[in-house]
Symmetry: none
Subunit: 416 residues, 2 copies
């Protein structure tokens, strides 16, 4: 039975980069394996949501998995929480958290507090947060849980009566600006109360973090202290049909970051952890690809998520992005002979994160589909420009699962 | 006044075929006339429904004629019935029928009972069915009519109180499986009663067919007997605006098979019969094209349907498909000089029926548009790969009528 291997290079697509002589990281990267697949397969350009619409990684992945984000997206928080292993239930409100750095005047100077924390530091952070959660719990009569993730990331879960996800973020989203107050987004007592709970949580956490020993150490070492917690993406769990029911396929996922793992868990992929694969710049792509290929023996669809292409886009570093693309290419080449002849490989991006923009854009992204019976075309290279010549034309993120299931022979006919 | 000539090669698109050195029937067929139109005109790839979605010929044609099949498709049966000249009315339930062959254990061994029947055999079949209909009519107090079509095909019409189209098929859709029982698809008395009526019809028809003289003759001649009737595509007439109102055009249709003729009749095309044009492998394309070109004198849109490309796809025969494409090309070439300068010609497919898959797929299909003012592009040949370079880009089936009416100058402006 035909199977599919779907690889997403998060934020991999780009715009012409001056220092690359107006080519893109995907166009200049040395990636003979991926380019061979483009040569032998069919290409397209894909708009993850719609042309011009700037996707988040969450909405883009929902669309790519066949779930209309306009219907199913109710905030990023629940996916982050599920991805970190929090047992989120219908009605719970969840938020994505960042540890950040503010100066004495409350101005954000680093939205990631230097990004890197030692295991001991994380232990201290978790202890502090436990105390904060206990106190807020007592004050408001709600259950509240913090779970730390990788680097500066975490999730916060609220459970109880009269809470709402319709609250704003305290994250100014730019350095040089003060931390915001969390506000209710609607005039409802639940939203007002939730804003109050969260503002109290932020206040208490800052107090305790400022006094924490590990932050003194960080300052001595010239590292930015983690003295603020930034909350965003408040949301509730969407009601979704599991992917195995929607498309009648068994689906597995290999991903490093909590957001994507959480989407996988909510949609009922089997989400597989790979050691040293956490969405970091030093991710072990060999381990990820070899796990993915093993999974192909037992699943119809194996999904592999590559994060650091996006991180280098946000950092504005084209060479970092190129390096990740080249490492992914070598990792795929190493396992390629173990991928069966009946496997369709699709490679694309969830959105562009152009190094010049340093954020997601609504640009088209390249897509390739390789496998038995796939039409070949004039696209001989995987990249933003060459793929525009592809025989699959212009498709949307929401088409991806249908295209894969069409080739796998997993779709019912519509009509006769 | 500009006019349009729309030619659909049913199931004409394909995937690379090994024995054609990984080219497609459209790519290898010698079709100088059609390729000249591609050279001189504008090309595109078209997804009949949406990328990846596998269309039936019915849903695809509805979309191509501008009627969203998600809204207007309520089963294939009514189109088959209308196409065979049955006077189907709102509320009637109609089904497509096949004569098939079962063995002694009720296992389907040929879903088409050899496909070919002599005129005398068809007369006998019609007599038997008339008796069966009369008896079922009496037993259940409903009107029931069978109409035989070409080869093994026919339609069944039910009229009366408390009937429903929400019933399953008895066709296992594969040989080697037993005939199914028709079941209600919803828990409604109407659906339960309709299933009962149809199961009784199948039972009585089998009884009488088994004993029929012509079947004894067929067995002696080594032909599969027609000893079962397979019912599918139960449906009711959709409420549609006639095409002449929707697009303000007079439309004529030349088609061989009942399904397409029926769609034409329901949408209020003038459906023209052409002798020796029945959707068979020996269709008289010269007659069909010459009729179509005559019709262009009096109609804004003339639609011509070519069936056997699809039949050869289902048979897995690339050479048969190539042969049909070449015959169509010659037929078009013969009448080309009689087609006025103000006529737009569009050629496309309602879906792919790859010879390797032997069924419809959700692949893109090539499209060409030729005529006055049409943008030319780099596509120099009509085929799956070349058309991907077309200046019309990627379009959907639902766009076709708008594209044609745009060029014909028949569209109101949206806004000012």
């Amino acid at each position: 039975m035909a199977r599919a291997f779907l690889i997403i290079l998060d934020g991999g697509a780009d715009r012409p980069v001056k220092e690359l002589y107006f080519r893109t990281p995907l166009e200049v990267a040395r990636k003979p394996m991926i380019d061979r697949l483009a040569c032998e397969g069919a290409c397209a350009i894909m708009y993850p949501i719609r042309p011009g619409v700037r996707p988040g990684s969450d909405t883009a992945h929902l669309a790519i998995f066949g779930y209309d984000p306009h219907v199913y997206y109710k905030g990023r928080g629940p996916f982050e929480a599920a991805g970190l292993g929090l047992d989120i239930k219908p009605g719970d409100v969840a938020l994505r958290t960042n540890l950040g750095t503010v100066d004495d005047k409350g101005i954000v100077v680093d939205r990631r507090a230097g990004r890197y924390f030692s295991p001991d530091e994380i232990k201290e952070i978790e202890n502090i947060m436990r105390e904060v959660c206990e106190q807020v719990s007592k004050e408001f009569g709600v259950e509240i849980v913090y779970k730390h993730g990788t680097e500066h990331r975490g999730a916060l879960l609220l459970r109880g009566e009269k809470i709402s996800h319709e609250v704003s973020s305290n994250d100014p989203h730019k350095v040089g600006l003060p931390v915001k107050k969390i506000e209710p987004l609607v005039k409802k007592p639940e939203a007002e109360r939730t804003a109050e709970i969260l503002n109290r949580f932020v206040e208490l956490a800052s107090e305790k973090l400022r006094k924490a020993e590990f932050n003194e150490r960080r300052k001595r070492e010239g590292k930015p202290p983690a003295n603020i917690i930034l909350l965003r993406g408040a949301g509730v769990l969407p009601e979704v049909e599991p992917i195995y029911e929607k498309f009648k396929i068994r689906a597995a996922m290999v991903a490093g970051i909590a957001l994507i793992k959480g989407i996988g868990k909510v949609l009922k992929f089997d989400v597989v952890d790979v050691p040293n694969y956490r969405g970091s710049r030093d991710d072990d792509f060999d381990a990820a690809f070899s796990t993915a290929v093993q999974l192909l023996a037992n699943y119809d669809l194996v999904f592999l998520h590559v994060k650091p292409t996006d991180a280098y886009g946000h950092d504005g570093d084209p060479h970092g992005k190129i390096n990740i693309i080249e490492r992914v290419d070598r990792a795929l080449a190493k396992v390629f002979d173990k991928i069966g002849d009946d496997v369709y490989i699709m490679i694309t991006c969830d959105h562009a994160t152009p190094v010049k923009v340093r954020d997601h854009t609504g640009d088209p992204v390249p897509l390739l589909l390789w496998g038995p019976d796939v039409q070949t075309d004039e696209c001989m290279k995987f990249g933003e420009r060459p793929c525009a010549k592809g025989v699959l034309g212009t498709v949307l993120g929401m088409d991806i699962m249908y295209i894969l299931c069409n080739y796998m022979g997993k779709l019912e006919k519509f009509g006769e």
